[in-house]
Every structure is written in C-alpha cells, then in structure tokens.
Symmetry: C2
C-alpha cells in the first residue's frame, strides 16, 4: 500500500521551490530486488532513499542515490514487477549509467563479490584522462565507473 | 579529434575533490544529433556541457544537463555513431529518464513542436502527488516529466 499522501508528499517534491527543470532519475527494470540492492547498496555504496511496494499494481519502485533528492545528483529508480518471470531484454539503445568513484580500480575489483560482472578493466582513454571501467549489474545493465579523485591514481 | 588533455582535463574531473561516489550520467544512443538537440535543448531546455566528435572512432558524445558537472544533478550522455544506419532497439529493460519541470502541463504541450511524441498526459497518481506525464524523444526513448513546482498546480 502506498503511504498516505501526507507522508509521501515531502518525498515527491524534488525541489518544491525550483523554477528550473532538473534531471531527476533514470529508471531500469530489475528482476531481483535483493540482488540489485546487494550490488548497488552493499557493493557500490548507494542507499535506498525510498521504496514503494504497490500491492494493487504488484510492483515495487525503489529510488537509490548517494545523496538526497533535493541537493544531490540524480537518483536511480529500479522497478520490480512482482510477477515478471523472464529477463528483460536490453536492446541496443541503452548505453550505461555512469558512477564516479574515488578509486575505480578498487571498486572494479570489489564488485564481483556483490553480484557484479566485470567488463573492461580500469583504463585511461588517453594520458591524463580519468580511468574508466565497466561492470554489469545483476540484471546485466552496463555500469560505467569513472575515477573522480585524481589523487588516487596520480604519482 | 579530441581536445588536448590540458583542455579536457577540467571537463573530465567531475568532482576532483570528491571522496564519495556520485551518479554522473546515463547514456543513450541516438541516431540524429540535430533532432536530439532540438528536443533536449530547444524543447526541454537543457544545454550541451560538452561535445566530443571523435573522428578516429567515427562517433560523437554529447553531455547535456541543466547544470554543470560538479554542482548539478547528473547529466545525460548521448552517443551518436556516425555510420549507424538503422534504429537502435529499446528492449524491455530501460524505463525512462525523469525530468522535473516547473510546469508539467506546459512542457508536455510544448514538446511536440520539438520532435517529442506525447504519451500519457499530465496526471497525479493520487491526490496531492505531483503530476506526471510521458513523452518520447526523437529516438523513441520514454521521458517522464514530473511537476516540481507545486505552486503551478495548486489552487
């Protein structure tokens, strides 16, 4: 059941004073919530901002982020359809969700223990550029890891 | 050709002092840059933070956002493969990219003039919840519009 409006209202506002558009989230459909949370929260370090289990529609939506709705970068929304019994197809259009991490090598090495499948290892596209690496989440979506703390790879 | 490292370095840092992970962008593959920019920039009001035309790989990547890399919500990355001659497939896994807008009804009405295809019209999922609407971008990706300024629909 959805929470009462009074309870969810603050969570849905996403910038009530905003007079400018903003990017809020990207939504992906997943098949196994536990596996997804193990990867995104335990592995990548996100937290669940909100979770709505909608019995009437037999689906759940979860909003994950590193920050809050208002003051942080956009969130990831994961949708779990309770009765879905086959994997989603990916098509060729979706590329990836990119996550900046302080130590890309450490994160890339860490994620297989949390259900991630390693793709290309950390590598700078050119001298001086940040290192990039790819993993796939438990549903197979490509996740790009980008080094955001230059000190970690300098020297 | 890529810009010199000295030129791109500030653009790639995405939080050089960050010691916490952050969501950076979601990437989608597009077929027509002009059509995409008309929709996302002229229509939705984003701006191009950076564009790299990589002749060696025959592709372009464009980073779009409402804010800068460091201090704003995550960006949208669009990838254009110059020699791609057929539409990308979408699969069933990708859901949407959500954009908060001050006036969802006005934005929903506005976008067909910029190559957007209207989906479900603005509607609150329940009393007191923000209005949501859907459009498809020129490549057919679902874009969710969410009302972020409550004043626009109050009263």
């Amino acid at each position: 059941m959805m929470p009462a409006t009074s309870a969810i209202d603050p969570l849905w506002v996403w910038g009530e004073d905003a007079d400018q558009p903003r990017l809020l989230h990207s939504m992906l459909r997943i098949r196994d919530v536990d596996a997804a949370l193990r990867f995104y929260c335990d592995g990548l370090g996100m937290r669940v901002l909100d979770r709505y289990d909608i019995a009437a529609g037999r689906f759940s939506i979860l909003f994950l982020s590193y920050a809050g709705y208002r003051d942080g970068p956009a969130a990831l929304e994961l949708t779990w359809n309770w009765d879905r019994d086959e994997d989603y197809t990916h098509g060729s259009g979706y590329g990836h969700v990119a996550i900046g991490v302080p130590d890309v090598a450490a994160m890339w090495a860490r994620l297989p223990a949390y259900g991630g499948q390693q793709g290309s290892p950390p590598k700078a596209m050119m001298p001086g550029a940040p290192e990039l690496a790819f993993v796939r989440d438990p549903d197979g979506y490509a996740i790009e890891l980008i080094q955001i703390n230059r000190a970690s790879t300098a020297g």
